[in-house]
């Protein structure tokens, strides 16, 4: 690129969709940079989707591959369902970030580099044999090689800051650079800086200047000939905000509790990537939310069962290994028929696995992973914003049927974000509980005919004292009962309750074609990649439909019928075929699986290519 010596004249171009990734060392502030860019993108009215990806070490060794932290955003004027496959822009603050991420940059994509970090020591540490800035590594890309640190240093000379502080604000330079490229206003970030560094005016000033320096620099250099404007997306009418999945879950829980007239109790133990739910809820004390940071996951779920028994909307959240520890208690929760929601923000397994990476491999565990016949409804969230609805739905099922419910999210949803159309609280569906205070005819295990709920009588209610426990018990009285017929009856009753729950599900209506060659059946966070791929396929005239399941147990009653309308069924999952086994086991229908076990979400092209392969030979 360097051979071009012509005078720079800038123009503005309109584009529809852009994908950017910020990547650097853990200490480079890439997560913060990404979320600033995200907020700013929301402000200009684009649809967006984000994906943060960071190492499991708190601070991995500076400059190492393991220490690379990244944040990706796709934004545009159309519906955006995923953070994007390939990159229009890659910011690589050091050689390690370049090494890990370069493969995803489009040919001719823009590469923004902080050249000061491309020292021999650093590029060797990152596994480059020679300096990638100097060999042919980058020949297919447009490279903006900028000594950001030096430029920032120049701009803050008068402030007498340490080199460390200066280096740390290079991220703002990169941000400013991109703000110029996408024709943005700096105000939101300037406000943020001012608020964040309020107590340290010098730091605040350095960050502001760095941001502006980046903006101005981009304006002046020749490699940026064009800046881009992305038209506002056509959102459904409403008020929007950006929201992260774990945050949306927390909001959904608080809203459901309020709607049901209950207080919210949360008992849990920190674990990545679920801890943020605890963090959010512990800030909601003025909503009467009680958060109990237990000594482990077992105490977390047991305190949750206690809270459910005593009358709160009771919640616990965890991730895979913690979910495993709750297994025994979930059997108790089933047996005592109390309402509660158990949240699993899935991560890569088995065992400690890949703690900060995403995966969908806990589905079997959620649906089948208990001793005895212990059916539990399972609800899965599909996008960060959908986490709100899924959490609300999980609470509804739990309270209306007096049953524990598992909510599956994952690291990708929990930490990802997207615009959320803020619902009107008063329009949220009503939630009725089975609380009962009238002793007449009271039997603790008499089941409501319609919902199969038992009455929810909480300690403190006069003249209704009763005992409950994990031994098999009589329908009606709830007294311990081991007789053969009663056990058969109770086992069937617990199963039947699941069947009844499915009565309240909306009909399954495939997106795209509702019958034809190929149905893509997904669940959870694969929604975005599948939907994007299906839209592409439909645009190409392929005969495909898409169903994304929110309810994994029980399945919707009409699902079997829908499956029967397609010649082929593809089930893409971030596991080795768990939904596939469940679907085949239940409906005895042959399906095809697409399995990805890489700690990262599907790209739309993963799905699209597989669809094309399955449909090849067809018109």
């Amino acid at each position: 690129m360097a051979e071009d010596q012509q005078k720079i004249s800038k123009t503005t171009e309109e584009v529809d969709v852009v994908t950017i990734r910020f990547a650097g060392d853990s200490g480079d502030g890439m997560q913060l940079t990404g979320s600033q860019f995200t907020n700013n993108t929301a402000i200009v009215g684009n649809d967006l989707s984000t994906f943060p990806d960071y190492p499991s070490e708190i601070r991995a060794p500076a400059g190492s591959l393991a220490g690379v932290s990244s944040f990706q955003i796709q934004f545009g004027s159309q519906n955006i369902y995923t953070p994007g496959d390939t990159l229009d822009v890659l910011v690589a603050m050091n050689p390690a970030a370049l090494k890990v991420h370069l493969k995803d940059l489009k040919i001719n994509g823009l590469l923004l580099l902080n050249s000061v970090n491309y020292t021999p020591r650093n590029y060797k540490l990152a596994g480059w044999e020679s300096n990638p800035l100097e060999d042919k590594t980058l020949k297919d890309y447009r490279v903006a090689e900028v000594n950001m640190s030096e430029l920032v240093a120049n701009s803050v000379k008068d402030l007498n800051l340490s080199p460390k502080v200066i280096n740390r604000s290079a991220n703002m330079f990169a941000l400013g650079f991109l703000y110029y490229m996408y024709d943005r206003n700096l105000d939101s970030t300037i406000d943020f800086i001012t608020a964040k560094f309020g107590k340290y005016p010098d730091l605040a000033e350095a960050n502001r200047r760095s941001l502006k320096a980046g903006y101005n620099y981009a304006h002046t250099i020749k490699i940026i000939r064009t800046n881009y404007r992305i038209p506002k997306a056509k959102f459904k009418k409403g008020t929007y905000r950006n929201i992260m999945g774990n945050q949306a879950v927390s909001f959904g829980l608080v809203a459901a509790a309020r709607k049901a007239g209950l207080e919210l109790f949360y008992g849990g133990y920190p674990i990545t990537p679920a801890s943020d739910i605890l963090h959010y809820l512990s800030g909601f004390k003025n909503f009467g939310v009680k958060t109990f940071q237990a000594e482990d996951e077992i105490a977390g779920v047991m305190s949750t069962i206690g809270a459910a028994y005593a009358g709160d909307l009771a919640i616990t959240a965890t991730s895979g290994p913690g979910m495993a520890l709750k297994t025994e208690a979930l059997g108790l929760a089933v047996s005592v028929e109390l309402p509660m929601v158990i949240i699993n923000v899935q991560r890569g397994g088995p065992s400690t696995g890949l703690p900060t990476k995403t995966e969908q491999s806990d589905l079997f565990q959620a649906v089948l992973g208990r001793n005895g016949e212990a059916p539990i409804p399972v609800v899965a969230a599909q996008t960060p914003a959908h986490c709100f609805d899924a959490a609300y739905e999980a609470c509804r099922i739990a309270l209306e049927h007096m049953i524990p419910v598992i909510l599956l999210s994952d690291g990708y949803l929990g930490n990802g974000s997207e615009p959320w159309r803020i619902p009107e609280y008063k329009k949220l569906p009503e939630i009725k509980t089975h609380k009962k205070t009238d002793p007449e005819d009271f039997l603790p295990y008499r089941h409501d005919e319609k919902t199969l709920a038992r009455p929810w009588v909480v300690p403190g209610t006069a003249n209704m004292e009763y005992r409950v426990g994990g031994l098999e018990k009589s329908e009606g009285t709830g007294n311990v009962n081991y007789t053969p017929e009663n056990h058969q009856l109770m086992t069937e009753l617990r199963q039947r309750k699941l069947d009844i729950i499915a009565d309240s599900f909306p009909p399954v209506v495939p997106f795209g074609n509702s019958s034809g060659e190929l149905l893509i059946l997904g669940w959870g966070s694969t929604f975005g990649a599948i939907r994007t791929a299906v839209e592409n396929a439909l645009a190409k005239g392929l005969s495909v439909g898409h169903v994304q399941l929110t309810h994994l147990n029980p399945f919707p009653k009409d699902l079997g019928e829908v499956l029967g309308k397609f010649k082929q069924i593809l089930i893409p999952e971030l596991n080795m075929g768990q939904l596939q086994t469940l679907i085949q086991g239940k409906f005895v229908v042959k399906t095809e699986g697409l399995h990805k076990m890489k700690g990262v979400p599907f790209t739309q092209s993963d799905i699209y290519n597989k669809m094309v392969e399955m449909l090849k030979g067809l018109a």
Binding site: N39, A42, I43, G45, F235, K236, K237, G238, T239, Y240, R241, A255, R258, E263, F265, G267, F284, K285, N286, F287, V289, K290, F292, A294, D296, I298, A299, M302, S303, T304, I305, G306, A307, A308, Y309, A310, G311, D312, E328, A329, L332, V336, I422, E424, Y425, D438, E440, P459, G460, T461, A462, N463, E465, Y466, R467, V468, G469, G470, L471, N479
Partner: protein, 339 residues
């Protein structure tokens, strides 16, 4: 349903007896403890509906079924965690945990020490029969070294826990010990535990007739018990013996037994001070010491603010500071835009 409600009559023991058949072995020490609990309940001044009895799994843990109160027979070892959730949901409740030496100290040891540390206002009755009863006789974490049981045919090689010392080490604020057969004494302990604000840990020696009969006979048999049991009473000297002729004295940092004959005066005898943690630690050392009596009664008692109280305070404070939570406002916090 529209009847006029009259003030309920005062309750009596029988109001606390449930309609369920009691299923312990005839002669099991659990019966006596159940009876004492049922006896003191009416005297606590707590409405029956506000009493919750929570247990794990074990012979002792069947207790809730026999109490005509709210009750929860949980899973093995988790009663303390279950009870924590109940108490935090409704701090008005009087919560009683019933557990065994296996349930509370083997599988449930962690929740036990964490509850003690947090100091929720919950009463724990630990039925210590030094054996796993329900699973038919394996040694437990309080069985003595060398004990021959189903799972230790050559004798156990586990050193036992010293329950009051463990509870003190876990920052417990009320530590006491009773004996199934010392019924009056036990009643006093139970009432004291109830009035304590904070977690009350009451170890109760309980005879398992079937798998560990007689382990406590030196503390319960008429002929010998006075020589072997030291009844702790706040403000009273530590005297024991059939003829009240022995006392405990502090010598440097150690306790010693002194003979209260003409020569040694009562003045040297240590006065029990429930609020003295160091003394409680000293007394806890006696549990397994040969040549010393076994203390029963309240080892330690200190009222400090409870976890449940602090939780309420914090919620009240947050409401005061931020105003009662408003859902719409929460949803709209931060940057929003309207289309």
């Amino acid at each position: 349903m529209n009847e006029v409600k009259t003030k309920p009559a005062a309750l009596s023991k029988k109001d606390f007896i449930s309609n369920q058949e009691v299923r312990w072995c005839p002669g099991c020490g659990d019966y006596a403890i159940l009876s004492q609990v049922q006896k003191i309940m009416p005297e606590l001044g707590v409405p029956r509906e506000n009493i919750v009895v929570i247990s794990g799994i074990g012979c002792s843990s069947r207790f809730p079924y026999y109490m005509n109160t709210y009750g929860f027979h949980g899973i093995h070892g988790r009663a303390t965690a279950l009870a924590s959730g109940v108490k935090l949901t409704n701090p008005e409740l009087s919560v009683w945990v019933i557990t065994g030496d296996g349930d509370g100290l083997a599988i449930g040891g962690n929740h036990m020490i964490h509850l003690l540390r947090r100091n929720l206002d919950i009463n724990i009755l630990l039925f210590n029969n030094e054996i796993y009863g329900l699973t038919k006789g394996q040694y437990s974490p309080t069985s003595e070294l060398g004990k021959v049981t189903k799972s230790s045919p050559f004798g156990s090689i586990d050193y036992p826990f010293n329950p009051p010392q463990l509870a003190l080490g876990a920052a417990g604020t009320f530590i006491a010990r009773g004996i199934d057969r010392e019924q009056k004494h036990l009643q006093g302990l139970l009432k004291h535990a109830h009035t304590h604000t904070g977690t009350a840990f009451v170890e109760i020696y309980q005879n398992c007739l079937i798998f560990n009969n007689g382990v406590f006979s030196h503390l319960t048999e008429k002929e010998v018990k006075a020589e072997n049991v030291l009844v702790l009473e706040h403000g009273k000297p530590m005297i024991f013996g059939k003829n009240e002729d022995k006392g405990l004295r502090l010598n440097g940092s150690h306790l010693e037994v002194i003979q209260l004959d003409g020569k040694t005066s009562h003045d040297h005898v240590l006065i029990h001070d429930e609020t003295n943690k160091i003394q409680a630690l000293l007394l806890s050392e006696l549990t397994y010491l040969k040549d010393f009596p076994t203390p029963i009664g309240v080892f330690y008692h200190q009222d400090v603010e409870t976890y449940d109280h602090m939780m309420i305070k914090q919620i009240d404070y947050a409401k005061e500071q931020k105003g009662e939570g408003n859902i719409e406002a929460l949803f709209h916090e931060g940057y929003t835009w309207t289309v």
